[in-house]
């Protein structure tokens, strides 16, 4: 039994067939990346997993149990499958620290929450400096750090990340990916959606390539980096 597995998932938006039967799997401790062009269906996949869209058919299994039975908030409270959404979506009118506590909203293990807060501040010292600042006044990069930190505050057993590098300066992209790798080394399983295939394939163990709602390729990250089609289409090599 896989730690996390998606089987033959179909999602429609009205008449649009956004996911045409995709299957993928993530083992405990892995970073798995899902790469693909704009509109391929990456965000839709994550939204289906966290319950924000209802699939037409298929299964989403976490430790063998189907998540489709659960509402979005139950997936967080009962399964600790945590989604760091596309475009950050931090609570602009709350302070940085309030946002981080929102991440831990459903947790009851207070001592561990405080430990995790310290850990987030260690990963992102910038957030600690700005803990009393309203999140809406943070820069884009700082908001991304906050969104990731907020996800970590939920003590995720599976962390779904949607394009954490979007809109960041190259130097910051590098450091965000290093942080993601660090988070994984500290024991968090990650499903990483990215358009920046170059960086994603450097830190991931395995990867899936999504094209217009279908998985067209999956392999170890190393093999994908060497794959001619991937190089041409997603890594921009001639």
């Amino acid at each position: 039994m896989a730690y996390f597995e998606v089987r033959d998932l179909h999602v429609y938006y009205g008449a649009i067939h956004a996911l045409k039967g995709i299957s993928l799997r993530v083992e405990e401790g892995e970073i798995v990346t899902l790469i693909g062009a704009n509109g391929a269906g990456k965000t839709t996949t994550l939204r289906a997993i966290s319950g924000l869209v209802r699939p037409r058919s298929g299964q989403i299994l976490f430790e063998g149990e189907d998540l489709l039975r659960y509402k979005p908030h139950e997936i967080v409270t009962q399964k600790r499958v945590i989604h760091v959404p596309e475009g950050r979506r931090v609570f602009a009118r709350m302070t940085v620290e309030e946002n981080l506590y929102m991440g831990a909203f459903t947790r009851t293990d207070r001592d561990k929450v405080e430990e995790d807060l310290e850990r987030v501040y260690q990963l992102f010292p910038r957030l600690k400096e700005r803990r009393r600042q309203l999140a809406g006044t943070l820069s884009g990069g700082e908001q991304q750090m906050l969104a990731i930190g907020r996800g970590l505050m939920a003590a995720p057993r599976l962390l779904l990340m949607d394009e954490p590098s979007m809109g960041l300066a190259p130097i910051l992209v590098e450091s965000i990916f290093e942080t993601i790798q660090e988070i994984n080394k500290q024991g968090t399983t990650i499903l990483l959606v990215e358009q920046n295939a170059h960086m994603a394939l450097q830190i991931a163990h395995r990867g899936y390539v999504l094209r217009t709602g279908e998985i067209v390729l999956h392999d170890t990250a190393e093999n994908l980096r060497a794959n001619e089609m991937v190089q041409k289409t997603y890594l921009g090599m001639a």
Partner: protein, 359 residues
């Protein structure tokens, strides 16, 4: 400098000019009216103070009702036009308990305890009505275009009015008097000799305490944080593990409880209840919520107090000086003129948007 002025002038339309002329005229009227009445000395300082104090008491009731409008708007972006009926349902139902307690002699022997019981029942009924309204009428329409829940709210408002009319008959019912709140209290008897009606003080003080309590609830409790999170971004809140539907119910419950309390204060001040009693206070409180910037909690509170004082002082101050007979009859006209002016000139309300919307 001149360049900039010319540049800005190019973007001013005829409608803008007409509107500014209207505003200037109104402002002149206000200034002239106030000047006349103040120089004429028709009212003493003490009388003005009385206007302000009864305005504050009335305004604190508006503020409590406005809380419900503004919280529901903040979370669902809909105007709950049936909120006036939520406000009516509590005190109207609790009237029967009050009557019963009066017959049993409790209003005479333990007046404040009796009042507390009436208050709790009123808050409970208003809360139940508010929560049911959301559950049965609004929730099924979530995601529909904004006009749909608005029309539903108006329908629900009539439905509730006529249901309560049918249940409790259409006549006015007189609330019992509360002995300890009759008469006046005198402050600084030796110097200022400030004599104020006890009822006004009681209503104002308890309303303000309740407002502070509710504000603290939203600002500092976990449930309050959930409400604020859902108000900002429902999906993001769900991704934090917040039960969005439950949080929306709680929001309606808080607004309902505040309206139920306000209803008893209103019934005590005006000594009567009936099925239509929610209509005008509801509209006024909506105005107050707009004045304060709808969706903004402290704004609704300030807006309520401001409106209460404005419509209490306004008729005498602005209109009588212009020779308007029976100016006090025009206090509703003043309140709603102000609503229209705010919607035109400052739709974000007194406090404005506290933070620009995220891009």
């Amino acid at each position: 400098m001149l360049e900039r002025l010319r540049y800005r002038l190019r973007y001013i339309s005829g409608t803008d000019i007409a509107l500014w002329i209207v505003a200037a005229l109104l402002l002149t009227m206000i200034v002239v009216g106030s000047y006349n009445i103040l120089t004429e000395g028709r009212y003493t300082g003490r009388q003005w103070l009385d206007f302000v104090i009864s305005g504050l008491a009335q305004g604190s009731i508006y503020a409590l009702i406005a809380l419900g409008y503004t919280m529901v708007y903040g979370i669902l972006f809909m105007i709950n036009f049936a909120h006036g009926e939520v406000f009516m349902s509590g005190p109207f139902t609790a009237y029967f308990l009050a009557e019963y307690l009066k017959q049993k002699g409790m209003f005479q022997s333990h007046p404040l305890l009796a009042l507390l019981l009436v208050m709790l029942l009123s808050m409970l009924v208003s809360t139940v009505i508010a929560v049911s309204l959301e559950r049965l009428a609004y929730r099924p329409l979530r995601g529909a275009p904004r006009l749909v829940p608005l029309i539903t709210a108006i329908g629900a408002s009539f439905f509730l009015q006529y249901t309560f009319r049918g249940l409790y008959t259409p006549g006015f019912k007189a609330y019992p008097e509360v002995e300890p709140l009759k008469g006046t209290w005198v402050f600084f008897p030796n110097s200022l000799h400030l004599e104020i009606e006890r009822m006004l003080i009681a209503v104002f003080v308890s309303s303000v305490l309740l407002l502070i309590l509710l504000y603290a609830f939203v600002q500092f409790t976990k449930t309050g944080r959930a409400i604020r999170a859902v108000a900002e971004d429902q999906q993001a809140a769900a991704l934090m593990g917040v039960d969005v539907d439950h949080t929306i119910s709680v929001t309606f419950a808080v607004g309902g409880a505040a309206a139920g309390a306000a209803g008893v204060f209103y019934a005590l001040m005006f000594r009567q209840v009936n099925y239509f009693m929610g209509f005008f206070p509801g509209l006024k409180a909506f105005t107050a919520a707009v004045l304060g910037g709808i969706g903004n909690l402290p704004g609704a509170m300030l807006g309520g107090l401001f409106l209460g004082v404005f419509e209490s002082v306004g008729p005498s101050l602005f209109l009588e000086g212009l020779g308007v007979p029976a100016a006090y009859q025009l206090k509703d006209a003043i309140a709603f003129t102000m609503l229209v002016l705010f919607l035109i000139f400052r739709p974000t309300g007194i406090l404005g948007e506290r933070l620009a919307k995220r891009a």
